[in-house]
């Protein structure tokens, strides 16, 4: 099987993507959404033509709410982000924006107002991290348990360890993608992004388990003298079509959701698209070949 044979090349692709992702995070950092960072977000839609960005910036600056950002959204709208606003500050911003340069009232409809206090944000961020860690831990324990009968030639906890490597890979790549998209397109790390990561973890581990399960089964019916390398290769090729097809159906749903679906979940869908592609890659080209690498290392040691 070419996947096992050329595994070093596939490792290199993964390593490159991971390094690029980490570098993007280091260089550009991550844009945190208000649900983690705290702050307020106002989405406005103007009845007729919308004012210029400079105009809006001038109007908000006059209300003295501190640092803010304003960017255009849709055809007639603006999204304005500020620090956590009080009721009065919020009203001041809205009334300032509802007037044109001459002070005449224009129609500005507030479509959305999100406001998260700093305490709530910290709490949400802490919960997000804990749930990520818990999911990874629970999955590793589960795999170690599910493959407990498999100990030759690679012991079951190593299946678990490989699963962690694959999962960390799957989390880092979409995070890197969001660092890039965050810098250039304003994509944010928010609760939905973390949810996407957890779904990616679930999906990727599901994929990895299907291949591992095949290895487990093929090991049971192993003919004497059949190399472990060969068994893993056979298992990958047997599950290859299934892995690709399952990812295909999921990717079909996601691509459609990206183009047709709700604006609210668009970035969520992008995170899933990147992550599920990475997850499919990791379960075919990273996880299973790593079994062979681990077995080879073990052989070297015992020699």
């Amino acid at each position: 099987m070419f996947v096992v044979l050329y595994r070093k090349w596939f490792y290199a692709v993964s390593a490159l993507l991971v390094v690029a992702s980490l570098a993007s995070v280091a260089v550009w950092g991550l844009q945190y959404g208000i649900d983690f960072a705290g702050g307020s977000l106002i989405e406005l839609e103007y009845a007729s033509a919308r004012p210029t960005v400079e105009m809006v910036q001038k109007q908000i600056a006059a209300t003295d709410v501190g640092a803010f950002s304003a960017r255009e959204s849709g055809d007639k709208g603006f999204i304005i982000r500020t620090k956590h606003l009080t009721q009065e500050q919020h009203d001041a911003v809205i009334s300032a924006l509802s007037k044109d340069a001459a002070g005449k009232v224009t129609g500005a409809d507030e479509k959305r107002f999100d406001s998260v206090g700093p305490l709530l944000g910290q709490e949400a961020a802490r919960k997000a991290l804990v749930s990520l860690a818990l999911v990874i831990l629970a999955i590793v324990l589960f795999i170690t348990y599910a493959f407990r009968q498999v100990s030759e030639p690679v012991s079951s906890w190593k299946y678990g360890l490989i699963a962690i490597i694959a999962l960390v890979h799957d989390v880092i790549i979409p995070t890197g993608a969001f660092a890039i998209l965050g810098h250039f397109q304003g994509f944010e790390i928010d609760t939905l992004f973390i949810t996407a990561l957890l779904v990616i973890l679930g999906f990727s581990i599901h994929d990895t388990i299907v291949v591992f399960d095949r290895v487990r089964e093929n090991l049971k019916h192993r003919s004497s003298g059949e190399a472990f390398e060969h068994i893993v290769g056979k298992s990958i090729s047997q599950t290859f079509v299934r892995s690709i097809n399952t990812s295909m159906t999921v990717l079909i749903s996601l691509v459609i959701m990206y183009f047709v679906g709700s604006e609210a979940t668009r970035h969520f869908v992008v995170a899933l698209l990147v992550g599920i592609t990475a997850g499919t890659y990791s379960s075919i080209f990273l996880g299973s070949p790593l079994l062979v690498t681990f077995q080879k290392l073990q052989e070297k040691k015992s020699r």
């Binding site: 507030e110 999100d114 999911v135 609760t191 990717l251």
Partner: protein, 457 residues
Amino acid sequence: MRRMTKHRSIAVILLALSILGGYFIYSSEVKKSDFAFKLGLDLSGGTHLVYKADTSDIADGDVQASMSSLRDVIERRVNLFGVSEPVVQVEEGGVVGGGGHKLIVELPGVTDVNKAVALIGKTPVLEFKLVNEAALTDLQAQIQALGPDGKPIDISTAPASKGEPFISTGLTGRLLDRAELEFDQRTGEPQVSVQFNTEGSELFAKITKENVGKRIAIFLDGTVISSPVVREEISGGKAQISGGSMTSKEAQSIVRDLNYGALPVPITLEGTQKIGASLGASALHASVQSGIWAFAFIALFLILWYRLPGLLASVSLAIYVVIMLLLFQAIPVVLTSAGLAGFILSVGMAVDANILIFERMKEEFKRGRDIHSGIFEGFARAWFSIRDGNLSSLITAAILFWLSSTPLVKGFALIFGLGVLVSMFTAITVSRTFLLAVAPKSHGKVSTFLFNNGFKN
């Protein structure tokens, strides 16, 4: 042959049931019955408020009780809004959240955040008003007269030909010193005893002196609690409020409301989320559209690649959708944009078990098995990876549900978890029944074509 007849009849029953189910979903949505889908605020539009409760001054043992009385107070105030299905719930931070208590208020359809916040944050209003018997009798007569035609009477707009039925006295909760729970010494009934401050006491003495023999109505948050008859002048500024049917629990909560002025637990607004109705409606429309398209494309893909089994898998996928929608209505699950995204995603994933099984079947056919035993063998062998894979997805869903703090993510986790369970059922039982119902006994050219799939590899 008999076995096949059995599978065929089960298949027909399954189809009939799911068509019935589909019709039920459709009709309950059209008729807006109790089973119609519950939409989250991000789809229906409305206001979501998160308050942080400061429980630091409350003894540990009383925190639970204080929080629940806080919820009751807020609920009472929210109900004044006339919103359909408001949600007021207490959320405990737990170990992970940092141990804080939060109060979450959801007001569907309300987009005036300021008004909502003001109403929720207000203090309870205690008022003593004089009863104008003549006007009241007149008003009651009007209600009696108009009542039978079924139209509800709005007292506030009914013409008060003989003046206001209740006359303000200026004596309100502002002049209150403290409130206590007492029990009537004769009847043992619970009552609320209020003590006015100096100004209040003087006013109360004056009112009672001037109105001996008349009734005084005691209002709490705009509702009459009781209207005792004044027997003599009351000096000392002490009054008892006792409604005929007031339970000691109710009396206790009134005492608490009055004493804490505002609320049993001080709260601060930590988070606000307002979604305009038009934004919600367009999000809903987009979600439904993408769901329909995703289903169509997945079915097309399955049929092109897996031929007859692919068609059957599409039918069982349709049954999956029907079961899920029925569950959404029955539980009921509050649908959010993230929840709907999770559902559409789960449609893509639900196919996975079918694909696993079909690939396994194909292998068995290659080994020379006939179609029937190939189907059985394919299902049996695919089961272990379906089980293990789905268990790991369930673990993810459970942790998400347990730890998530936003309703958006909770809804997603619930739908995702339900999807995993239901998809296991449809893939294993429904797809199998359909396959066995149509599987031919003989190995003709046509049936081999129909059951083969994809490219030869």
